[in-house]
Amino acid sequence: MLKTINLSKSFNRETDNEINLFNNFNIEIEKNKCTAIIGPNGCGKSTLLNIIGGSVMADEGQIILNNRDISSLREEERAIYIGRVYQSPSMGVSPSLTILENMALADKKGEKFSLRPLVKKDRIPKYIELLKDLDLGLENKLNTKVKYLSGGQRQSLSLIMAAMKYPELLLLDEHTAALDPKTSQVVMKKTKELIEKYKITTIMISHNMRDAIEYSDRIIMLDKGEIVLDKPSWEITERELINIYSEKIVA
């Protein structure tokens, strides 16, 4: 379970453009559930994910992941517990390495990197099994460099790489936003299968209301760093969500 306690964050401090994004922000994310965060640009979705992931530090407050205070850990130290898939398909992979080499890197996550050879033959069947789950035929392209893959293929690979070591928390930062609608649906379906299969606690940012309802268990709407809606996904329809969105935020 993830919990933030009195989180505060402001940008451009002590200037005319100071923005107090979060002020004593508290949220609890249940274990083994997928929580979707929606809201307009600038509402703090990405900043919240960055603060949890550690790429942006909060000014004040604590982040507790499974009873462990991770607030003071650096991004790479938190990465041992947290997996993340970014919006850009090139952020989660190493394009000049092959699929096999990328998988082998992800397989070492959180362990010590030594002077032993990276790719271990006895681990390859495991990678093939994981890639087969994606249904994209990537298991037959182990020695293909990732830069030759399509955006959807790369994003699916990033997802597997982020999830394969069973992180305690998975952060999906609009991970299908850069894909075409059809590929986006394929990747979303795979995402849902994967997080259900491995029972990974997930926070997903989305601009797509339908995706948010269909693929998550709980929906949180943010506006200017505050929660304006917090409901189980099955209690709300897309129409209602859009109405609330335009009522509370656009108005």
Binding site: E76, G83, G92, L97, E101, F113, L115
Partner: protein, 293 residues
Amino acid sequence: MNTLIITSIEQGLIFAVLAMGVFLTYKILDMPDLSVEGTFPFGAFLFARFVSMGIHPIISTLMAFGFGTLAGLCTATLFTKLKIKPILAGILTMTILYSVNLKTNGKSNVPLFNYSSIFHKGSILLILIVIVLLIKIILDLFLKTETGYLLIATGDNESLVRSLGESSNKYKLIGLMLANGLVALSGALMAQYQGFADMTMGNSIIVVALASIIIGDTIRKNSQILKNTTRVIIGAIIYKLIGGIAIDLGLNPNDLRAVNALIVIIFISYNNFAADFFKFGKSKGGEQIAKNN
């Protein structure tokens, strides 16, 4: 002509060590490291200093490598800890090294004819081939290790390295240290080869290194089998051969630097434009594609 070819190959092999070092920063870490202009003579002066103290030339050469890595440590510290931009960090290290180089032996030119060198044991060409192959094999093996792959990933995508629980700065440090160590080693070899260490031997050496890397890239561009280190070595030798032949054909040695820069410009523009242009000429329409399949 024959001696010209052998001399060019020998010098090419020495520059291959330099180019493999610069390859680590320029190609793998995707970072311009200008400190090599200071590290190359630094290696030469270190060697001169050690060998004049009576240390065995092989040990002196290895010590030049060891101390050379410190130049990389300096650049990496300026860049990762003090947040100075890589290009400026390199220039600052280079500037510091200028004074350090003068201090090492107390003068700007040190003759080494009176001391023994690693080349005294046998054929210069053979010794150089062994050294270059040894470095190439070690480097290839290193790049296949867990640490080596993280070095490649750091140049490719730093956020991936952090997501694996590792600090990308650590790998920049390793890369810069190794690179500068190799450059200093190359400088030490050059000092023994030409019989002196000189302040000016580092001038525009980065162009030599980049030329070797870029020429290497041009050879059989799409071949998967040809390793990058092999490309760099062949590139350095071809580069030296071009320069040697140009001088043999009557080029004024004073014009050599401009010609060197010209070679780099030609090969980069070839890689950027002409390669596509020629490919277009080769594969005309479906008939050719059908034939290929």
